[in-house]
Amino acid sequence: MSAASGDTLDPVRRSRLPWAAAARRSPLLTVGAVLGLVIVVMGLLAPWITPHPQDAGFATHPADILLGPSRSHLLGTDSVGRDILTRVVYGARVSLGITAFVLVVSAVVGLAVGLTAGFVGGVVDSILMRITDVFLAFPALLLAVALTSVLSPSALHAAMAIAATWWPWYARLARAQAAAIRHQGYSDAARVIGASRTRQVLRHVLPNAATPVFVQMSLDAAGIILTAATLSYLGLGAQDPTPEWGLMVSQGQSLATTAWWVVTFPGLAVLLTAVACNFIGDGLQTALDPKRGRR
């Protein structure tokens, strides 16, 4: 780029943009944010807005088995007569809970490892990054299988397995940021005035690493939701009667030809949630990185 001369390509200065400007640049950001908000709010308000809250648990209604979508059951009922709309809405709680858990755990672990590697450098850096590579090479699905055979299959253990394969991405990202910042000499001034290393990391390196990490988190949320759903679909995550979307699809799979709604709507919920996260992540990236977003 010709930032040095400054007057060549893009005379309209663009730095950090306020939300409104970001939304204008990327219509998908708005769509994603609205969709994401709707899903979160629906999950939070599930007990009050769902027509049959008791169906989120062990309820059975032998009279209502496999009813197609109708006015009383907008998305139909499953093989034991539970209202699918209710279960899909409750499912948002499970998926978002797992996602939040994985994001927090892997961001914290990844940042700690990556910042240490990038900031200390040398042998420590090499060793930490090789360990990171090892975990990166492990397929999440198979690590989850191993973990659930040590422990028992549950939503929490699935989330732990996903976190175990997800933190390396944050470690790499944070390391790159820390190393770049270290070399740029951002914190040289701080070193001169005698600030301690910890203080440097907290005050100078961490805030600079936070922006790309945040973009990464929103894009990752989509991947985590998909992986979590896949694990439950395989029976390695949440167990019945938890209203987990992937589990619901697997429960409906054998009935798909006669009762399409049982598999269709929970899967659609996974798709829409993943799309919302990706829209938000992509929009943020466009807004924060003018180079990518430019015409």
Binding site: M1, S2, L9, P27, L28, R130, I131, D133, V134, F135, L136, A137, F138, P139, A140, L141, L142, L143, V145, A146, S149, V150, A222, L226, A229, T230, Y233, L234, L236, W245, G246, V249, S250, Q253, A256, T257, W260, V263, T264, P266, G267, L268, V270, L271, A274, V275, N278, F279, D282, K291, R292, R294, R295
Partner: protein, 337 residues
């Protein structure tokens, strides 16, 4: 160049060692005694002890680890509990069948995704770009298991256009018997010129390939678009425009070449991802490859097989990354120095 490659190869080796060590740790953590599992439920204590000695379980942990590493290097990946045959033999048998699916899917993904990304970059900021982006995001957001089931539901159950499961229509065996060459029907049919079976096999591949291709296709399109846009702002692009090159070669050659590295890196990444995705796809479409083997192993809690599959996928990932590093060094001379 040679030094760079050597250091990358050593790094890869270290990671391979780490991966093996991690599978070993997982194997030790798993509750239950493998000797009991091997000897069977009715075994006497003496038989269990014999099995224990046989597997070296009476040795100290470090000794067991060395034996484990040595075994893996020699090709002894343990014995599958559900097939009762050596895990490595099982893997070598099922992997080619899966590779047919995954490679076809990646060819589709790159063949459609890269041009889509070029198109998006070209119409950047306009409607075409937005539509391409929505399509790509939908593709990467698809839950694989759900997409597989829905495709089956629509194209088999409702429309009846495509078969639901299997590798080919086995009723063709009576009219045009298939000679096995490499034990992959679609390849065997092609090699022996058995067109009825080849056609059937190709039809059976359409839905699984589309399902596996979805994610890499969307990812390819987005990475290609971003890489090209990154380059379009560069001075060397303005230079070739100023030299009079047409926009097609500006994008397709001069902006594309420096963009190949991120695309290559992505392909390596999604290859490993697609292997794990094939687990789901194969079980839905009843395709007898690595995925079905993995699912069978998972359902019968067959730890040696699960670890074998894990190790295999991890090794593929490590070696692909190494291959990409080498390829990138060849494409972009800046990487070497």
């Amino acid at each position: 160049m040679a030094r760079y490659l050597l250091s990358r190869a050593l790094q890869a080796l270290a990671v391979v060692f780490g991966v093996i060590a991690l599978t070993f740790v997982i194997a030790r953590l798993i509750p239950g005694d493998p000797a009991v599992a091997y000897a069977g439920p009715k075994a006497t204590p003496a038989e269990i002890q014999a099995a224990r000695v046989r597997f070296g379980l009476d040795q100290p942990a470090w000794r067991q680890f060395l034996d484990y590493v040595g075994g893996i290097l020699r090709g002894d990946w343990g014995t599958s509990l559900h097939t009762k045959s050596p895990v490595l033999d099982d893997l070598l048998r099922v992997v080619p069948t899966t590779l047919v699916l995954v490679v076809c899917a990646l060819v589709v993904a790159v063949g459609v995704g890269v041009p889509l990304g070029v198109f998006a970059a070209r119409s950047s900021g306009r409607l075409g770009d937005l539509l391409a982006k929505i399509f790509s995001i939908l593709a990467v957001s698809m839950p694989v298991f759900w997409m597989a089931i829905l495709l089956q539901l629509v194209f088999f159950s409702h429309l009846g256009w495509l078969p639901a499961a299997g590798q080919y229509n086995q009723s063709l065996d009576s009219t045009s018997p298939l000679f096995t060459v490499v034990h992959i029907p679609v390849v065997d049919a092609l090699l022996t010129g058995n067109w009825p079976v080849f056609l059937s096999a190709a039809q059976h591949m359409v839905l699984p390939v589309i399902t596996i291709a979805a994610f890499p296709l969307g990812a390819c399109a987005m990475v290609t678009r971003a890489a090209i846009l990154d380059n379009l702002g560069e001075e060397h692009i303005r230079m070739v425009r100023a030299l009079g090159f047409r926009e097609r070669s500006v994008l397709g050659r001069f902006a594309m070449r420096p963009s190949l590295n991120p695309i290559l890196a992505l392909v390596a990444l999604v290859f490993a991802y697609s292997l794990t995705n094939s687990f789901i796809v194969e079980s839905v479409f009843d395709w007898p490859g690595l995925g079905s083997y993995a699912i069978d192993s998972i359902q019968s809690l067959d730890i040696p097989s699960i670890l074998g599959v894990t190790l295999f996928v991890a090794l593929v990932y490590v070696f692909l990354n190494l291959a990409v590093d080498i390829a990138q060094a060849l494409i972009d001379p800046r990487v070497r120095s």
